[in-house]
């Protein structure tokens, strides 16, 4: 039997479950994450307005630069303060 050694990070689980999707936004806190891409804030302002009209609690967040991954503290803050997060990804 020929054997090869796995060149990968060996991280891949067979299957990764998604978090369950919420059925409603009632009593949920929604985070809006601006990644600092141009005009992302305008898109999020509109979402903010719509969600607030619906009676949803909205919190705003911003990455210092889109080119780098979000700082750990920011990720932690979002996870602890929000039930859902919407990210404005591109310009």
């Amino acid at each position: 039997m020929r054997i090869l050694l796995d060149p990968t990070g060996e991280l891949q689980p067979a299957y990764r479950e998604r978090n369950p999707r919420p059925t409603s936004l009632e009593d949920k806190v929604v985070g809006l994450l601006d990644i600092s891409k141009a005009r992302g804030n305008i898109f999020l302002d509109h979402l903010d307005e719509k969600l607030t009209e619906m009676g949803v609690t909205v919190k705003r967040y911003r990455k210092p630069t889109f080119a780098r991954v979000a700082p750990v503290d920011l990720k932690h803050q979002i996870v602890t303060e929000c039930d859902l997060v919407i990210e404005a990804l591109a310009d």
Binding site: L4, G9, A67
Partner: protein, 481 residues
Amino acid sequence: MTIIPNDFSGYMVVVKQDCSTCTLIESVFAELDATYSIRFYSQDSLNFPSTVSDVIDDTALEVSYRLDIEIVPTLIQVQDGEEVARLVGWKREDWRKLTGMKQLGESLPEFSPGCGSKSVDPGMPEKLAYQFGDTQLQARRIEVADLEDEIELAYERGWSDGLPVVPPTEDRILRMLSGTTRSPSEIVGIIPPDNVPCTVEKVAINAVMAGCKPEYLPVVLAAVEAACIDAFCMHGLLATTYFSSPVVIVNGPIVDKIGMNWGINALGQGNRANATIGRALQLVIRNVGGGKPGGVDRAALGHPGKYTFCFPEREHDSYWESLSVERGFSADESTVTLFGGDGVHGIADQHSRNPESLTKNISMTLRTVYNSKIVMAADALLVITPEHMRVFRNAGWTKVRFREELSKHLMISGKELIRGANGIEEGLPVHLEDATLSKFRPDGLLIVHTGGGAGMWSAVIGGWAASGDKGSIPVTVAIKS
């Protein structure tokens, strides 16, 4: 694990039938067998030596490996399980002295050199080290079925960059690891985007697949280490829709030691070291880090250098200090510099014979990096070839002087750059109209000398739009053994 029993005192002899010296002195083995407690180990035939009462099977070569046998015959004297003396080949006087048998081999020639042990046949030390040694590789084993093709398996499992890879077998990986003194389990860095701790062993596996020779491994390790430095922002380079990817520039004595190409076609194909070192880095990012096109790699177009992009500086006849010296290393130190770059853009100038003219011409191409109306965004790597270098040498222009003069031509009026200028919507905000701006951020222009001796073309390799603190900063690390 010890191979000699603690209570054994006497002699051990390792032989193979396929050795003219072993067969020549077969009668000596009989004399010894009749006199002493002797253990005969045969590497090939259990019927050899035919002159002795008992032959121990070492066709698996475990005893030969553990006793570190390089030549057969080898005679070892043992006392209470400890080796006290060893002879290789046949030298009658020495054998007589060690055994105390004054008439030993009387009818034989005085001397006959031994033969190579089967345990040191090509490729065998690695196999035996894996089978019997302490070097235990940790990576998951993938069994290849009898009817399966190893190269096709690598494709199916997503290990390939699109070109065939060398199958990463245990013996190839062990041979690769002989290129470094570092332990296979040492962590080289945390590889983005999956942030996986990457061991020397994993780098070696991917270096095998890329086609590296063991002596390239220290360079690959340094490149991986550099890619993991936070300032280089490998995650961002991978995730961007822009072209950028690591360009590996090698400096120092290791360049010639491992036969890298700094001459004709230095940035092109054809040299194993240039080609495979850059590819190994890309495979580590792909396989260990999990960075694949369509996954975290979101490049709209990418560029061919994302297969491999590695070249050395041509240092021996450069008039200027090298990139690594400029970046604070000594000239006799070998280094790897990573630059987040795009493809190669040529700068033709066959007429400039004075440095002022050539510098101005180079600046015109540099102004186009990323976008001719955007400044202070992308860094650039300027590659000067020998024929262009000659112009600066003849005029006595140092690298410092060249940088000074070049930077003057890279100061641009805001009027040319603002949005709408020249009928182009892209550009800088209108409030910068009256400003004069530098094309590059401070430290944003790297300069190297490389390439063939003929051709009045230099080149620029543009950087990522997010260069500098907000994104990727070029990094340089020393290459360790």
